[in-house]
Symmetry: C2
Subunit: 258 residues, 2 copies
């Protein structure tokens, strides 16, 4: 029984991608996805059926610098060769940043302690072509102090139902927590006079939560709602009280914490 | 004769573009070009036949932050409306950065005193997806000091035939100069440990001259040729002595000087 001589391995990947043109992370019957592409080439390389488990899903058009994923395999191919093999087969829009053997019990989703997401804005009058797919163009004036006042309200532990889009919540992950999440950091950083980034770090994020928060923060920044109204919206635990959903292309999953 | 009441205008544009997927600047019968796209929408807006004169051509895949171009028109539409009209019609990969009326005698190509081009390198092991279309990935080790020694040889006035690709040289611009150009600045700047930029400023550049210089500089950086051999290649005034042509996607026209 030659198969028994093969060791079971749990292999962990860090993945960067340009989400433009992809139907998001999660494998679909129709539409090209990040998970689907990587599984396809892993199968090609290992000649095994492969199920790749990601730390979470990202929406169509959302980018990642540090998505984490794992798969169980019996391949004898070493990590360096798996990385170079995948990177030579995958399109340049998906890169395998690292490959390593990890504990057999490690699970990229169940064991994730938190995530860092960044949402990028471009404030200048004309959106530079090379930033157009990676930042939201804000051609109107926004009040950064009002946005920062709202961001302070987001930090901490709250029920974020007002910023959760309808759709399946993955109840297997955080059983009794419902829509309660802890946000460790919610900041607006000025990279330059025109390039600004929202940084959000938290123990977890609901479906489209960051895009809904950013949309509502920008409503506050342009004076459509006050800080008090932002606070009321957050406390309402009611999606109809939250603001609009910001576009996907400004968002990037920077890192998953374990 | 109503037409006579219309003033002749010379309108100058500054244009930024992501050259990915375009067949370069210059209008072509087959293939989408930057010039072709802008002329198309200028015609649509002004309802006049428009010929747009650029400061120079850029190859397929080359980007620009500050291409300059002008066109003669009798339109009554003001500059701000021309800009917003063009930007609302053009794809996001082409942006009109500014529009202004200029002297009737101004010519974007004949009056250009110099240009600034930047060529971007990425030195890390894995090319980040969002930089893949805007920098050349260098997965091997290069010696920056050797490259800098070669760059010093480039600064000054030289016959750059060794770095000129075959094809029509525009003799109308610099009549008796042949392949002699003056390079004011040839530098390698380290934006970060992995992101490096070549900056070249000069009174003019021959066809594919920068891409040929960069290809040869990288040959020196990885030890394929010595600084002395680089010098010999430059002095040979013979394209067969120069090195390979670096890919288009690392190159960007930053600015045209008048």
């Amino acid at each position: 029984m030659a198969a028994l001589t093969r060791k079971t391995r749990n292999i962990r990947l860090i993945i960067a991608y340009d989400g433009t043109g992809y139907s998001g992370w999660q494998r679909q019957k129709n539409g090209t996805t990040i998970q689907g592409e990587i599984e396809h080439f892993l199968h090609h390389i290992t000649r095994e059926p492969v199920v790749l488990h990601g730390a979470g899903r990202t929406d169509a058009g959302v980018h990642a610098d540090g998505m984490c994923a794992h798969f169980i395999s019996h391949t004898r191919i070493n990590c360096a060769d798996l990385q170079s093999g995948l990177n030579s087969l995958l399109p340049g829009s998906i890169r395998i940043v690292s490959v390593e053997d990890t504990d057999l019990h490690f699970h990229s989703r169940f064991h994730a302690k938190g995530k860092h997401y960044q949402y990028s804005l471009y404030l200048g009058k004309v959106h530079p072509p090379r930033l157009r797919l990676y930042s939201l163009h804000i051609p109107f004036t926004i009040n950064l102090q009002i946005i920062r006042d709202c961001l302070q309200l987001i930090e901490g532990t709250h029920d974020f139902s007002s910023f959760e889009n309808s759709g399946s919540r993955d109840k297997s992950v955080r059983g009794g927590k419902g829509a309660v999440r802890t946000i460790y950091l919610a900041r607006l950083a000025e990279k330059s006079a025109t390039e600004l980034n929202f940084d959000f770090k938290g123990d977890g994020f609901l479906r489209q939560m960051i895009r809904n928060m950013v949309g509502t923060l920008l409503d506050a920044g342009r004076g459509r709602i006050t800080v008090a109204e932002f606070s009321t919206a957050l406390q309402a635990k009611d999606r109809t009280k939250g603001g609009p959903t910001a576009p996907a292309h400004g968002l990037c999953l920077k890192r998953v914490f374990y």
